[in-house]
Amino acid sequence: MESVDMSWVMLGTILVFFMHAGFSMVETGFTRSKNSLNILMKNFLTISIGAVLYFIVGYGFMFGTDAFGFIGTDGFVLNGVEDIGFFIFQSMFAATCATIISGAVAERIKLNSYILLTIVMTAFIYPVVGHWVWGGGWLSELGFVDFAGSTVVHFTGAAGAIAAVMLLGARIGKYSKDGKSNVIPASNVPLGALGVFLLWFGWFGFNGGSALAADVTVVPHVISTTMLSASAAVIASAYYSSLRYKKIDASLTLNGALGGLVGITAGTAAVSLTGSIIIGLISGIVLVEGVAFVDRNLKLDDPVGAIAVHGACGIWGTIAVGFFATDGGLFYGGGATLLGIQALGVVATFAWTFIMTFIVFGVIKAVAGIRVSEEEEISGLDFAEHGSQAYELKDIMVTTPPARQSNTGPTGATLVERLDQLHGKSIKMD
């Protein structure tokens, strides 16, 4: 392998890793401060467990010798694997897929149950889909196009999120008895906005690195389509939300940027620059409608909009390739074949991921429970699960408790002295 190609893929690897900082900030910013520590821990554990498990089994299932076009069968613990660079690049994707779920289930899921789900996701559910499309499985045989993972990574994550949220239920207070969807405002949108920038930044590695080489004919094109699609989506979601809701909705516009990125991920190398702008514009609208549909029709409580971003826009992006691919796309006289294959890929991925997640998480629910107690949810997961809080605790809140006892006649000059005699020198804490 060439040094320059290796460097490019390693750069991509590092950037995809960095997307996890983005996910963490988006999820922390879009939820309430009483659950911030918990969300951060979920994210750190997801990327960590994901990387280790992908090394042990995930990579093998995904890229090992094919069996029935369904799954890989060797290369566990990288046994006999030459290209370590390719492994580490791919391992970042595995964790990305898993972390998508963490946002949708935030503020009420039990940490340990979440971890169990993450384990199955990164070790098995995702690698299988990955094998179908990138590991020489049946979908790749059919000619399914998903350059960097609109379906493989993003839609898979969203499908898992749908199943998880269905089993988990909404946060307390999110839906009124009459089914009205209530507002649970974000705690730190600037942090969330930063997270979106981090994701956007990392995405250049996600899409660009997927060229797997510093190919001058591919990479600049990929960087450009990625940039233009995200930009178009920001514009679309900003103005479409102001059309629909009278105001430019900040958090929807931020989601919109991500929607545009998810939307272009499949076709980034296959569509023209103009095509990428159109895909982005539509992604922005799909996102706004998607959030409304998930929140008010499906009544799935998704605090950060993960299902709309990665699900709705993931589907759109995958299908869009069928229309906009300069080679084989419907709009370029390529007929409907590709379109059909793309659709098939989406359906198959949904079926597999949704069903598997539903079963696995359903079992966890039955056996261990998946939701924190109502009391913990109200007072916040941070104190309950981590014994602490994310933001400053006022000094006055933390004090050494007064010892309880009755007064037995003390002596001494001042009241304080007398009290001190009773209790021994009092320990003063800052």
Binding site: G387, S388, M397, V398, T399, P401
Partner: protein
């Protein structure tokens, strides 16, 4: 006129406020407070060291009312905010000599009647 100060659990505020409205009382002033009493403190841990939180977040509501309403308002507060758990809070009834509505300058009962 009387001033009713009540210290309640934050999670009860929303319902209490609504019921007071149903009851015809819209005017009130709220402050975030912290309190302690018989309620037991909770222990947290940070970097391996334990600490005790023994002040609890409370909501303090102040309402100036005409004498005749105080009784029912107190009942209402007790019914809504009384979980029966230590820490439910207190109600203090205090005398008020006069009330002025800044906007109009009117004082006495007229200043608080909506």
């Amino acid at each position: 006129m009387k001033k009713i100060e009540c210290i309640i659990r934050p999670e009860k505020f929303s319902e209490l406020r609504q019921k007071l409205g149903d009851f015809g009382i819209y005017g009130l002033t709220v402050t975030e407070a912290a309190g302690c009493g018989l309620q037991e403190g909770k222990t947290g841990v940070y970097r391996g060291n334990e600490y005790e939180i023994n002040l609890f977040p409370k909501i303090k509501i102040e309402m100036v009312l005409t004498e005749d309403m105080t009784g029912e308002v107190i009942t209402l507060i007790k019914e809504i905010c009384g979980e029966g758990n230590v820490g439910d809070g207190k109600i203090f009834v205090m005398p008020v000599e006069d009330v002025i509505r800044i906007r109009t300058g009117e004082n006495g009962v007229g200043a608080i009647s909506s």
